[in-house]
């Protein structure tokens, strides 16, 4: 099982820019989703008049499924300045890759719980670190896309865009830099120094 929990109110407020399109994923029963809290927050945002649309669906981690569902909402997404995703880390990464020119943010952190991990496709991985970094990495998980799980930028080992550990693997931070540039968010690289917190395991 894994558990997703809303990020703090300040964190989410700080992410908001202009109009927002919201995606909720109530996919796997293996994932605990903070339904009530999410709903309350979304009601409030709607009240403020900044929400262009809300889509609640399942398995957004399945790219084909997600694209199909998003189709109906494309005009609402076009109107929005950003997309806020309430899902596990894999879901956010899948959406961020598909909407490659949009600012896509994670509203939740993902923690592990013992037990079956649910069905996730192979393209995107989430280590359930409990302090999702996707908002400062353009929606590419630095823990699974970088061989050293670096959270403060590229190491000196990339050669021809490939990782020093595996020449068949594209350097995760090369991808992150490219994505941030594409969505015009290079300024997030000036965020404070990031230090992992390994004490986040949630006991329920």
């Amino acid at each position: 099982m894994l558990i997703t929990e809303l990020k703090s109110r300040e964190t989410i407020e700080a992410l908001l820019t202009g109009k927002v399109f919201i995606i909720n994923c109530h996919g796997c029963k293996e994932v605990h989703f903070p339904e009530k809290e999410a709903e309350a927050l979304q009601k409030e945002l709607t009240g403020r008049g900044i929400v262009t649309g809300i889509m609640t669906t399942d398995y957004i981690c399945n790219p084909e499924n997600m694209k199909l569902r998003l189709k109906k909402h494309m005009s609402e997404i076009a109107m929005a300045d950003m997309v806020l995703v309430f899902s596990c880390g894999v879901g956010v990464q899948t959406v961020a890759e598909y909407l490659e020119n949009k600012k896509v943010c994670a509203a939740c952190d993902t923690y592990p719980l013992p037990g079956y991990q649910g069905v996730t496709p192979l393209e995107h991985k989430c280590d359930q670190c409990g302090e999702c970094f996707l908002n400062i990495t353009g929606g590419i998980c630095p823990l699974t896309a970088c061989s050293k799980s670096l959270v403060n930028g590229q190491c000196g080992g990339a050669k021809a865009g490939k990782c020093e550990v595996d020449p068949d693997m594209e350097c995760g931070w090369e991808r992150i830099y490219r994505r941030l540039k594409q969505v015009g968010r290079l300024d997030v690289l000036k965020c404070p120094v990031q230090i992992r917190n390994y004490a986040t395991d949630k006991e329920v």
Binding site: G153, C155, G156, G157, G161, E174
Partner: protein
């Protein structure tokens, strides 16, 4: 002496580096350093360089310091978590080590213990930040240190000829934000790229030392090109090494090339870092030929 004092006086900083042996007898290395490197501002001591296990960097720094040299303690984040790194920084302060260089470190898979656990609890940026916290008298756990806090001159590295130059510059800026006071670069063989890089890097206002490797042979250059990130030896230089086999074998060509690169790049930076890789004895000749 802290490198920052020399930089702030506008003096040229010349450093080189030594790799501790795979064993505990450090005397031959110290003797060689005394003979050839005594006139140099400071000497880096690598930390399990290329993920190959060796004598400790801190212990070697102490041996060099006792021999009258000025060591730079390199720390990587590959082998120690934040507690071990902080503790070793306090140990360094106790031994009177004044200069450090903070690196992320190569992955364990590239070295002689590929099955070892890669740590990377911190990275170069968060390590610099950690040193800054210790200097304020608190550790990363938020606990106060007892007595006088340590004080270091904190360095970092950057790769000016990397094919990911924009990502490298972004990382360099993060290192400056985290407290880096000077930079040493990865080996440069292409002055044009270095000069273009310095044009962008000078905005950070932090001194940069040009990194150079003495090209020992054609084979070595080919190896660098195939395996070392951010290093590219152009064909002309390889041809130059091929042209006079005797001169190249004696190391004269390598010394000439290195001195020339230094002369070309020096007007754009604040110092030189020579990675001699066993050719420490050639360092005095290089400096003489480069006019330093």
């Amino acid at each position: 002496m802290k490198l920052s004092e020399k930089f702030s006086r506008g003096e040229l900083v010349v450093t080189t580096e030594v790799g501790p042996p795979k064993g505990f007898h450090v005397e031959p290395m110290v003797e060689e350093a005394k003979e050839y490197l005594s006139n140099i501002t400071a000497v880096n001591v690598t930390d399990n360089q290329s993920s190959v296990m060796r004598l400790g960097s801190l212990a070697t720094c102490v041996a060099l310091k006792n021999a009258g040299l000025n060591p730079i303690y390199q720390l990587t984040c590959r082998d120690r978590n934040r507690m071990a790194l902080e503790s070793d920084l306090l140990s360094a302060a106790m031994f009177g080590i004044e200069n450090i260089l903070c690196l992320t470190g190569d992955h364990t898979k590239l070295g002689d213990h590929p099955g070892a656990k890669p740590v990377f609890d911190l990275d170069s940026v968060s390590l610099l930040y950690t040193v800054g916290q210790l200097e304020k008298g608190v550790d990363l756990g938020g606990n106060e240190l007892v007595g006088e806090p340590p004080k270091f001159c904190k360095g970092a590295v950057v790769s000016p000829c990397s094919d990911s130059i924009d990502a490298q510059l972004a990382k360099m800026e993060r290192k400056v934000m985290a407290g880096a006071q000077y930079f040493q670069t990865q080996a440069v063989f292409e002055p044009d790229k270095f000069i273009a890089f310095m044009d962008k890097a000078k905005q950070f206002g932090v001194p940069v030392q040009l990194g150079v490797i003495i090209p020992k042979s054609v084979g070595m250059c080919r190896y660098l090109n195939a395996n070392v990130a951010g290093v590219h030896v152009p064909d002309e230089l390889i041809d130059e090494l091929k042209a006079d086999k005797e001169k190249t074998k004696a190391g004269i060509t390598g010394v000439e090339i290195t001195a020339r690169l230094i002369k070309q790049c020096l007007p754009y930076c604040q110092g030189v870092h020579i990675m001699a890789q066993g050719w420490e004895s050639k360092v005095p000749d290089i400096l003489k030929l480069a006019g330093l």
